[in-house]
Point group: C2
Chain length 274, copies 2
């Protein structure tokens, strides 16, 4: 999916919501666990219920990996289901991979060749040759970690170098030479508020994947005030606050309700800031 196509979806749906599929067998409704594949069954119901209100899904790979072979099967089936039933939706594998070149090639093969997701989150610590193999798939996106939503983002990402540039700013600046805004996005946490202004000074045109709204407490209004650009430029993710809104047989309806609330908020914010 191109940047323009993504923007068109956002305009059409009046939403830039991504639903995070952090599906945990211990948190889904009990009655589902009798199913052959409870994770997949849960995901299908969540996807069908929330699809009208979002433009992307982000399976969090750790949650599937932790269930071993069965988990990987659930993940593959989930991705295939989205592609088949909701082909206009953008699929992000949130895996935060990154390794020396010949190993990153293997990770790229897994997600872009095998699973055929649209985008993969990648860690920048190992530098250019660890990221480049992911860019060999011209129709797929790399979403590079810049300023993450967690507390630990203060440990290294905000350290100033001797030129007064913080690490996340250096990552944004340097990585722009690796690929254009047609193939790279950045993870910037909603929990950082005004820091989004500093991000936009370096990458005015890129899409940002913004986690941290919802359970983690980031403000959607601040994200839009400081982060929205002319092509929206935002994919805002919420996971737990949507998919675990309810633990009864009404879980999918409750998830839809939460997604709809966010979409309505986004609709108003697009009027205000786009």
């Amino acid at each position: 999916m191109t940047k323009q196509q993504l923007f068109e979806q956002i305009i059409k749906k009046r939403s830039f919501l991504c639903v995070g599929l952090d599906t945990d067998i211990e948190k889904i409704p009990d009655y589902l666990t009798d199913n052959e594949d409870p994770i997949y069954t849960f995901n299908k119901a969540i996807i069908d219920a929330t699809a009208p209100y979002c433009i992307a899904y982000k399976p969090n790979v750790a949650f599937y990996e932790s269930a071993g072979i069965e988990g990987w099967l659930s993940l593959q089936k989930t991705v295939a289901y989205i592609k088949q039933r909701h082909p206009q939706l953008f699929i992000i594998a949130d895996a935060k991979r990154g390794d020396i070149a010949n190993t990153s090639e293997m990770y790229a093969r897994t997600f872009f060749d095998g699973m055929k997701v649209d985008a993969l989150t990648v860690a920048p610590y190992m530098g250019e040759d660890s990221v480049k193999p992911f860019l060999l798939y011209p129709e797929s996106w790399v979403i590079l970690l810049a300023l993450t939503s967690n507390k630990g983002s203060n440990d290294f990402q905000q350290t100033e170098n001797k030129n007064g540039e913080r690490l996340f700013e250096q990552v944004l600046r340097v990585s722009q030479t690796w690929a254009s805004d047609e193939q790279m996005m950045y993870v910037v946490g909603a929990t950082h508020g005004t820091l989004l202004q500093d991000v936009r000074k370096i990458v005015p045109n890129h899409f940002l994947l913004v986690p941290g709204v919802g359970t983690q407490g980031g403000s959607l209004e601040d994200v839009c005030r400081y982060g929205m650009n002319k092509q929206c430029g935002l994919i805002v993710n919420a996971s737990r606050s949507i998919i675990y809104a309810d633990h009864t047989e009404s879980f999918a309806e409750a998830a839809a309700e939460e997604a709809k609330k966010l979409q309505q908020e986004m609709n108003l914010l697009m009027d205000k800031y786009l």
Copy 2:
């Protein structure tokens, strides 16, 4: 396995070699591909042939993941095989994981609870709360990326902050407050030669996992000269130069030969530097 037990193995075998299991279906001998699980068959032969000369194995998770479900099965079987046949050998899952806390918990579950490896490589970019969940398994090791062996390690890891400290040095210093040298090791590439001296100024007692000897061209003598401490403190990895030493039916013997050469070199270097 404790630090002391690891050191005892090193003394006993006169080796601090780790064999990297970067097993690629496209690189193993053709005749093996008729097997039900060629990757596992290859690994078993490599393991049995090289076990006398090494103290650790490091499956590179990307290579297994790229083969999908079958790859994960091969990985699980390989780890189980090492644990059963060679229980004194240290097993490192090289996966370079790291995410926000509740997600890192899932990755920790995958590798420490599910697969029961001894150690996992972890990326530091997201800071303390992304690493801490891996430390909740007191018998398992975190091997944190500090200064990697690839060219891209120059992009961010060697950037000086305003206090004149390079990022890899900051990672070493700060992460020492998260766990002791009984639970944490660091990845430091053999390709950096004298920089190992700078690493040792900050972490004199920790074990280092050192990739980059062999195909990547790092010097084993330099690694020992600048990096060895009183408990050896080194696990030196070679992958491709050992496991792909030969592509005929003699691949396992050839791998053993390469591993033996490195062990003999290590034996002499232990005389010289330990």
